[in-house]
């Protein structure tokens, strides 16, 4: 890459936007639903306990998997769109 072309900058911005969005979801399920917001979810019961407990022990892990695959899929598309992918 020859440095500061217009496309290169836009490519990097698209990547940062995607990372930022993903990390919001990442923080929301783990630090949010599973820890800090747990009292707010206490009304929703799941198998003998509440939704916050489910997020802490299962929900967040499942979300993490979905997030990585979504990122990989979107990012590979963005690579192609900007022509920076590998052959």
């Amino acid at each position: 890459m020859s440095g500061h072309s217009y496309d290169a900058e836009n490519y990097w911005k698209a990547n940062l936007r995607l990372i930022f969005g993903s990390l919001i979801v990442w923080a929301l399920v783990s630090y949010g639903c599973a820890i800090l917001l747990r009292p707010m979810l206490a009304g929703i019961s799941v198998g003998g306990t509440d939704l916050g407990f489910w997020f802490a022990q299962q929900g967040s892990i499942l979300t993490f998997i979905a997030l990585i695959f979504h990122y990989a899929w979107r990012m590979n598309k963005i690579d192609e769109k900007f022509g920076v992918h590998e052959e």
Partner: protein, 588 residues
Amino acid sequence: MSQFAINILFVGGSFLLYILIAIWAKAGSTKDFYVAGGGVHPVTNGMAIGADWMSAASFISMAGLIAAGGYANSTFLMGWTGGYVLLAMLLAPYLRKFGKFTVPEFIGDRFYSKNARLVAVICLIVASVTYVIGQMAGAGVAFSRFLEVDSTLGLIIAAVVVFMYAVMGGMKGITYTQVAQYCVLIIAYTIPAVFISLQLTGNPLPPLGLFSTHADSGMPILEKLNQVITDLGFNSYTADIDNKLNMVLFTLSLMIGTAGLPHVIIRFFTVPKVADARWSAGWALVFIALLYLTAPAVASMARLNLMTTIYPDGTDAAPILYEERPNWVKEWEVTGLIQFEDKNNDGRIQHYNASESFQPEAEARGWAGNELTVNRDILVLANPEIANLPGWVIGLIAAGGLAAALSTAAGLLLAISSAVSHDLIKGSINPNITEKGELLAARISMAVAIVVATWLGANPPGFAAQVVALAFGIAAASLFPALMMGIFSKRVNNTGAIAGMLCGLAFTLVYIFVYKGWLFIPGTNNLPDTPENWVLGISPLSIGAVGAIVNFAVAFVVSNATEEPPVEIQELVESVRYPRGAGQAQDH
């Protein structure tokens, strides 16, 4: 056949399998697996990362800690999986593009400084040795039980086996051995869990069983567990906790530590393309999640089974007679990891939480204190025995636990020895060292590391998973920020990065040593390691997240006060951001 013989058969058999695969893979030459530009497929690589990653902490120790702590210890589950999100988005693809061999090499090149590389090596060694202490503690528990010896002897045997395993070295580097280890490990972990879930809830899938109905009582299983343990004065399993700051920081520390651990990052160099580095992280997490979704079910079900073993007629009735204790208790007593002391001389095993609020009830029942001490690291290994599962399941879990502990310990020892011989000695102290001298240095550093880790592992600063968590905190505070700033900032320069790493590392180590003992030597701590003494309620296990913030802050401030990195370094940063033009995959 005796249980001892079955254990030997399973453990020996699985080791034979790894050796055979190693020989077979060598014969076909490693090149076949890393064909030019081909590299390792992301799914295979994901499985290998899973084996490398899941150690004694995940396999042997974690479920026991969740069983004891309930909701509060969900931090281990989220922390050790959420880090892969950071790895996939913030580090792996760019480090793959950079294409160097080790983490200190990247830091040395990006921050154009031998000293930066040196500091990175020190961080790597401190984090890895701490990690090995945790592995030794876990492997020691496993060996002492399956060879039916005292826990200290078990630890020494484990040290000898790990050392030999690491010296044979080559076995670690071969992806297919790790795939086999992953398979042994995951089968060993899930089969007993499936049996137990079926017994207790009728649901063959443990993650679903966890939220199902307990067959005997008709209540949800978590509600049943809460009832049983609160009846005995323990804290509720699922209840919310007050110290959320600590829970957040602990989870964060494990997550960023995951992304900063060199032996995991290195695996991403083996994939053919940058795009595959992203997929690899996803697949690795899928394979890791198979264990991590099973672990909370194992934890709660094992705790319930343990309680019903001790109180077969319910918590209101008298507990079991010591004379009638099941066989597995007797066998674990040999190791010293289960201890019974008949405080009220009634010949029965009272197991309860001797808290102040429970005192009146305990007195009314004629109880003189909790009489049963169970080491938390034994829970997963004892789990099949507690549930009366057949002997081959017990042998299987022995093989799985040892696969987890040994593969990771050996991998870490190799990382330490290559850091010492390649980065430290050849990279800065004596660049003209002969190949023979380099090899000797590698062996010696490996031996020193294992002796230190074994000695400290005899009186570890916590249970296996807690010690490993300390290692993650150290990696989080030192390596992760340097790597991330190296990619996402063009402004951070050599002085900034070095100051950041040193401050992050020093801050974290001092906080840990004040509570856990200097250099983890028992008895040298300045303050007792209890919540009342922690600053703002932050445990030494959680301090890595704060250390990382210190690292970032110092690096930015110092960098802005000093001059910009040279143009060619800014171009290097620019180039790692774009996948096109990545070199060939590295053999690891």
